[in-house]
Amino acid sequence: MSAIMHFFDVFINSFDVFLNGLWITFQLSVASLIIACIIGLFFALLKISNIKVLVWIADAYIWIVRGTPLIVQIFILFYGLTDIMLIPMFWAGVAGLAFHSGAYIAEIIRGAIQSIDKGQREAGRSLGMSNGLTMRRIILPQAFRRAIPPLGNQFIIGIKDSSLVSFIGMQELFGVASTMGSNSFDYLPYFITVAIYYLFIVLVLTVLVNKLEKKLAESD
C-alpha cells in the first residue's frame, strides 16, 4: 500500500519537471520526424529513380542505418557534428534521430509509391503531365495516404527512440527520469512515471492516426 502511495507522491511532485521533459521530447520528436520525412522522401525518390548511382547511394544509407545501433549513430553524429561546428546539443540529437528514422521512412514511402498502380502514372503522362508533375500531383498524394498507417507506426518508434538522446545529455523525458532517480536513489517510481508519460503520448498519437485514416478512407 505505502509503495503505491509513494509512487503517487513521486508522480505528482515530479509533474513540473516531467512537463519540461515532455516538452523537450515533443520538440525533439516533431523536429526529427519532420526532417526524417524529408530525408525519407528524398531517398525514396533516389531509390525509384532507376539511376544506378542514386539507387546505390540510397541503398548505402539504408544499409548503414539498419546495420548499426541507434545509440551508436547518435554518438557518432553528436561527436562528429560538435567537432566540426558549433551546434546546440538539441540539434545534434535531432540530427541523430532524423538520420535514423529517415531510412525507415524512405523504405515506407518507396513501398507506398511502388504500390500505386502504374496505370496512374501512365494516365498522368498521357495527359501531357511531366514526370515530376505526375509524381507530385498524382502518385505522391495517393502514396502518402497509403503510407499513413506504417508512418504512424514509425512515428511511435521514433518518439520512443528519442529517449536515447538522454545519453548525450538531453533532459527529455527519459533524461529527467534517470536524473531524478539517481539523485534520490529511488529509481523505480521515476521510471514507472516516465513509462506512463510515453504510454500517454503513444495513445494520443494512435488515436490521431486512426482518425486521420478514417477521414481519408471516407473520401476514397
Binding site: 496505370g119 494516365a123 498522368g124 503522362r125 500531383r137 495517393q142
Partner: protein
C-alpha cells in the same frame, strides 16, 4: 472514303522489349476524322502500337508523323506531344484521390495553365456531354465502370487532343454497361474526332469505323473497310481470327 489530311502516319515502326520483337515494320496512316479500329489476338501488339503513338513506349526504329510533322524523341518535348494525343485505358485509370471534376480539370490547369474557373466550366460541359452532369463532385470509387470510362473520356477530351486512342475501352465493363461507352465514342466520332480504337466490338467497328486494321504477331496483316474486311477477309489468318471471336 473520307478525305482529309494525314493525322497520324507511321512508317516502318519497330518496337522490342528485350529480345521480344513486338512491332515489326508497322505502317499505318490515319486521316483526319477517321475512326480506325484495331483488332488482333492477345499479344499481337495492339496496345504497344497505341502506346508508341503517344510515346508511353519509345519505338526502336521507324518514323511517327503527327499532322505531317515528324516527331523525334530527342528533339521534341514529348509532354507537349502527348497533350495532342488523348488516351483512354481499359482500366480507366482515374485519379482516385480527386473528384470527377477534379480528374477532368487536373491536366488543363496543371499542364496548360488554363485558369481554374474556365477549366471548371469547360470540364462541366464535357461531363454534361458524356452524361455525367450530376456527378461533378463525387469520387470515382462511387461510379459504375461505364461511368468511370465516360469520365476518363471527358478527362482526355479536356486537353483538346487532335486524336484519341482507345485501348479496349469496354473490355473491363459488365456487358450492360458497354453500350453507354460506345454511344459516347460514337458521338465523338460523329463530331469529327480522329480515333484509333482497339476493340472487339464488331457492331461498333462496322457502324462507326472507317477502317479496320487486323494485327497478327506484330504486323499489320490486313487493312480495309469494316464491312468488306469482316465479310470477305482476304487473308487466311484474318479469317481464322474472325471466326475465333464471333
Amino acid at each position: 472514303m473520307q478525305q482529309g489530311e494525314d493525322m497520324i502516319k507511321v512508317t516502318k515502326l519497330n518496337k522490342s522489349f528485350g529480345d521480344l520483337h513486338v512491332l515489326k515494320d508497322v505502317d499505318l496512316t490515319v486521316k483526319e476524322s477517321d475512326v480506325v479500329v484495331l483488332i488482333g489476338a492477345s499479344g499481337s501488339g495492339k496496345s504497344t502500337l497505341l502506346r508508341c503513338l503517344n510515346f508511353l513506349e519509345i519505338k526502336n526504329s521507324g518514323k511517327i508523323f503527327l499532322e505531317g510533322e515528324q516527331i523525334e524523341e530527342e528533339t521534341h518535348n514529348l509532354n507537349t506531344v502527348r497533350e495532342r494525343v488523348g488516351m483512354v485505358f481499359q482500366h480507366f485509370n482515374l485519379f482516385p484521390h480527386k473528384t470527377v471534376l477534379g480528374n477532368v480539370i487536373e491536366a488543363p490547369t496543371q499542364v496548360k495553365g488554363v485558369p481554374k474557373d474556365q477549366a471548371i466550366q469547360e470540364g462541366k460541359e464535357l461531363l454534361d456531354k458524356v452524361g455525367l452532369g450530376d456527378k461533378y463532385d463525387v469520387y470515382p470509387s462511387t461510379l459504375s465502370g461505364g461511368q468511370k470510362q465516360r469520365v476518363a473520356i471527358a478527362r482526355a477530351l479536356a486537353m483538346k487532343p487532335d486524336i484519341m486512342l482507345f485501348d479496349e475501352p469496354t473490355s473491363a465493363l459488365d456487358p450492360e454497361l458497354v453500350g453507354e461507352v460506345l454511344a459516347t465514342m460514337k458521338e465523338l466520332a460523329e463530331e469529327g474526332m480522329t480515333m484509333i480504337v482497339v476493340t472487339h466490338e464488331m457492331g461498333f467497328a462496322r457502324e462507326v469505323g472507317d477502317k479496320v486494321v487486323y494485327m497478327h504477331d506484330g504486323k499489320i496483316v490486313e487493312y480495309g473497310i469494316p464491312n468488306e474486311l469482316f465479310d470477305q477477309p482476304k487473308e487466311e489468318r484474318t479469317k481464322a481470327f474472325l471466326s475465333s471471336i464471333l
